[in-house]
Symmetry: C2
Subunit: 379 residues, 2 copies
């Protein structure tokens, strides 16, 4: 097992190697502000236990002379992790290695969202995924939308699942026999991006997800923001237009009331005069050049951009990743998101780089797996 209740140096050496690729001991020492002796000592147990290994010295560093470095790298196959994103009608699962590379994936439709059914399906899904990795996988990460207490694995409230105070962590641990970590889905995805994606090395960054709802995960000073009252990252309910359409939250003109999927479909039906119009129809028509429908997406993108600008203005992240739950229409949004952002970002906040790209759907499950990796490392 991983060195337990371990010295801070061991954790920081391992996370640095894990997230910032192969690094020599000297480089680690510089980066972490430790002596190289401390790095040597911290690395030893990690190598002995098979979590790290020395890479064959490849590229020479420095001016030329000197002993070549033997960079440390993680042995990705040392341990495996299952991650499952739980939605109201589907379980999406992946099996990842220590470096969060997906080795296998699978999903299952849910016919109901009651806890028993979900747990039964989850157990089967996990069993399928484990396959030949069974003996080298001990941890399961679960990602659920809504209010989740990651410390206890309690799902306080999940609107899409209609769950309230479900001790999901314990239940899943019992039914799978694995060590379980539960986290909010957006936070899980944010963690994945922080450790293995574009957030690597950034002290602060934000991840925005666009879909039915519009959410946001926030990392500030290197730590995930949780919100004292259980609410954080609710970019969907930042105001955009006081006089805009009513939002389900009771206000008007929230970003989500303009740019959420429902809002877009509703507005598209209005402007097209076709009450049966679907999102896909609207996307197709807008792509084909339908001006009124194009304007609907433009307005939505502008609203999202303004919401993102609010994040940039308030917390000033080093970079922002914008993605979607299968954001198929991303080509329609992107320019307007950028324009809305530029318009509303103040001063140097406008310099904040924006990455707008659709994430594969499995990415959410990978986020769940990442959370379980993090739980192992920072235990």
């Amino acid at each position: 097992m991983f060195p337990d209740a371990t010295a801070p140096a061991v954790t920081s050496v391992f996370t640095a190697v894990l997230t910032e690729g192969p690094l020599s001991r000297v480089a680690l020492a510089r980066r972490l502000g430790l002596s190289s002796a401390a790095v040597t000592k911290a690395a030893r147990p990690l190598i002995e236990l098979g979590y790290l290994e020395e890479l064959a010295a490849t590229e020479r560093t420095g001016p030329g002379a000197g002993r070549p470095a033997s960079p440390l790298t993680v042995r990705a196959g040392r341990e495996f992790f299952v991650g499952v994103k739980i939605t109201g009608d589907e379980l999406i699962g992946v099996l990842c290695d220590l470096r969060a590379e997906v080795r296998a994936s699978a999903h299952r439709r849910l016919v109901a969202a009651d806890v028993e059914h979900v747990l039964a399906e989850l157990a089967e899904l996990v069993d399928d995924l484990l396959g030949s990795y069974r003996d080298r996988a001990h941890r399961l990460g679960l990602a659920v939308s809504g209010d989740v207490d990651q410390a206890t694995g309690l799902v306080r409230y999940s609107p899409f699942l209609h769950w309230r105070d479900v001790p999901l962590g314990e239940l899943a641990a019992r039914s799978t026999g694995l060590t379980v970590t539960v986290e909010n889905d957006v936070k899980a995805l944010t963690t994945a991006e922080q450790w293995f994606g574009e957030g690597v090395g950034a002290d602060s960054f934000a991840l925005v997800t666009v879909g039915a709802g519009i959410g946001c995960g926030l990392v500030v000073n290197g730590r995930l923001v949780s919100g004292a009252h259980g609410v954080a990252g609710e970019i969907g309910h930042v105001g955009f237009d006081v006089d805009g359409p009513a939002c389900h939250c009771g206000s008007r003109g929230c970003v989500e009331a303009v740019a959420g999927t429902d809002a877009i479909v509703g507005r598209a039906r209005e402007v097209s005069g076709r009450p049966g119009l679907t999102l896909d129809d609207a996307v197709a028509l807008a792509r084909a050049g339908d001006a009124p429908l194009g304007a609907v997406f433009a307005r939505a993108g502008t609203a999202i951009g303004a919401g993102i600008a609010a994040v940039a203005n308030l917390v000033g992240p080093a970079r922002i990743v914008v993605s979607g739950e299968g954001l198929s229409a991303y080509d329609l949004f992107e320019p307007h998101i950028r324009a809305g952002f530029q318009r509303q970002a103040f001063g140097a906040a406008a310099d904040c780089p924006l990455s707008i790209r659709p994430l594969p759907f499995e990415e959410w499950a990978r986020g769940a797996a990442t959370v379980s990796i993090k739980a192992l490392v920072a235990s």
Copy 2:
């Protein structure tokens, strides 16, 4: 002098006693997650150097029996600190004790904002304030609006002063002979609130200042938010009304474009038809029941509330303090700030307590002093 390059326990014991009032060693141990032995050891040098002292055991704790605790408290008079807020036309200075209680205050009008003149006036002001405390004061904190690098004491850009890349820290250190800390004014005020005000004990909180501009200081996970690009807390440029009035930032309908002093005065002149109307006139008329002018303040308050809600939705602070640079019309704003906040705050974010109260003008200078206290403690 204060124990230097000191063990983390010493710093945390001192800050805990400083901000959370008298505490027994056992209470400190519990609160800080240390053994009581460690607290005893950490407290000793602080007592020897005169920064802490034992309070006569006052109230019995626990069920009754047992040795009474002798709580530790800071010796406020051990050391004194000067804090000066620098504005475009005035220096406001205070002299504070270690507990940031104001012992003396003074101010000076500036006839010009060039660096030389400000430094000369500053030196005189500091000299005045030091008075009989001269031998027990070694630190000066300066608060300046704009982009300030706290670490180096460099004022990168201050729009009101028309300063750019002024090494204010060094210059003021030379002219006063004190150890100088420079900080952005809103951040300084936020630090004051975090250490000695309503932010005490909160892991995260926000301070919003209403005035010519609308600013915000943010503490998340116990640390001040700085912004990777030098921008953070720009609540004034959060969007409120896409179709609202043009803002000096280039966008439309920013909170500041609706609720900044200039915006209010402009709008008040419009609705009243009196081009010479001042802010005080508008306040007086609104208080007297002038409906159109009342609506101007109402709308401004609503916009501020919406901006505050954006903060609550995004970072979820434990509490929010709203104040102003001499926010005289605060009675006109308050109900609408609250209403705007409630309207736009999502879910549990609406539970975030809002304190709306005008701060005495000296408070800004006290913030500057607090920053220098913090610099001493966390050196």
